[in-house]
Amino acid sequence: MTDVVVDERTPGRVVDPYRSGALRVPTRAPLAVGGDPEAVELYGPVFGVTEVSALDADLTRHHVGEPHGERITVSGRVLDRAGRPVRGQLVEIWQANASGRYAHRRDQHPAPLDPNFTGTGRCLTDAEGRYAFTTIRPGAYPWGNHENAWRPAHIHFSLFGRAFTQRLVTQMYFPGDPLLAYDPILHTVTDAAERDRLVAAYDPELSVQDWSLGYHWDIVLDGPAATLPDPEATP
């Protein structure tokens, strides 16, 4: 584990390390098995109408009433490393409510739960690899990593590609959040330009008139996949 993370944009300031990994991160480098064309990881599970229903992508409509908070639309494209759209694949999200509280029993942050907000959503990417969610902007919340540690507002994302190697779990952040400069979890990404990849852009084009603020965030999946004929490609 790295003990000290320096924010290279603020010389001299040290970001606290992410402590939870001390006994969990492996000490040995992973074994490279990239050469096997038969590896099952070059293929992956598939999801469809059985797993995702139309309402799942609007997290503000999962209860009788409207949730508290600033309504937002979050959308972007999922691409592979060749820049091709990742089509028809599962995107799952989860997040805290507007007060920074998760609908999870172990979250005991003394901020109110919202009976009209659970904070989980799903969708399948479309033919252009696009996903879109309507939700509310999550609140910041404190955690025990160091004194006065607060997580910046974020949405957890889970994505599948065509191959298991492309599996991705990450977090999306909001532009201009002052907590970004202090967050040990964001700073597990040591390169500043790479950290910026996790910050969505405010996009008025995605805002819905008199309804929601728009944020744009594109995602690139890692990992090789088996070369299969693309059933949706037009010859």
Partner: protein, 189 residues
């Protein structure tokens, strides 16, 4: 596009609160109900101090017994009235399972044996504290994968072997760090 060969989006930890979002009922019941060929694979996840990890999430992907890697939807279903998650139906094989560890660090998967051509379960493990998920494989003992396993991981091969404990029951522990650390895998380009 200014960047024709994009680099991948960085990973971030799954954190402690995925539990109301990602697990689904019957996530470890990958074998069709009542299938006589079903096997049970189970084990613990341990940290570097040898303590069980109570908040890890394991995902499983494998070839179908006939060798197919096409997969099929239906790992979970939806209650149309409530929107809630229902277990998969008793028919067909999706090849995908998702199991959170319990308070004791234990997980259980019931699945069909993978085919001799790919006699392993691929595992993707997430946990609070891990900024990046970990890939490993559980080679099911007795399906002919032992030679491949030794070629792959030499003296550490035994960390990738799901050992037979009894009829149709196999044990696979994951040690994240330190003594007996499990072999984790990366898939290059």
């Amino acid at each position: 596009m200014t960047d024709p060969v994009p680099t991948p989006t960085p990973t971030q930890t799954v954190g402690p609160f995925y539990g109301y979002a990602l697990p689904f009922p019957g996530g470890g019941e990958v074998a069709p109900a009542g299938d006589p060929a079903a096997i049970t694979v189970h084990g613990y996840v341990y940290d570097g101090a040898g303590e069980p990890v109570p908040d890890a999430l394991l995902e499983f992907w494998q070839a179908a017994p006939d060798g197919s890697l096409a997969g099929r939807p239906g790992s979970w279903r939806r209650d149309p009235a409530s929107g809630g998650l229902l277990p998969r139906d008793a028919f067909g094989f999706t090849g995908f399972g998702r199991v959170p560890t319990g308070a004791d660090g234990h997980w259980t998967l019931r699945t069909l044996p993978p085919p001799p051509a790919a006699p392993y379960l691929s595992i993707c493990l997430f946990a609070r504290g891990l900024s990046r998920h970990l890939f490993t494989r559980a080679y099911v003992e007795g399906l002919g994968g032992e030679r491949e396993l030794t070629a792959l991981a030499a003296e550490r091969a035994e960390t990738l072997l799901a050992r037979r404990e009894g009829a149709g029951v196999f044990r696979f522990d994951v040690r994240l760090q330190g003594e007996g650390e499990t072999v984790f895998l990366s898939f290059g380009h």
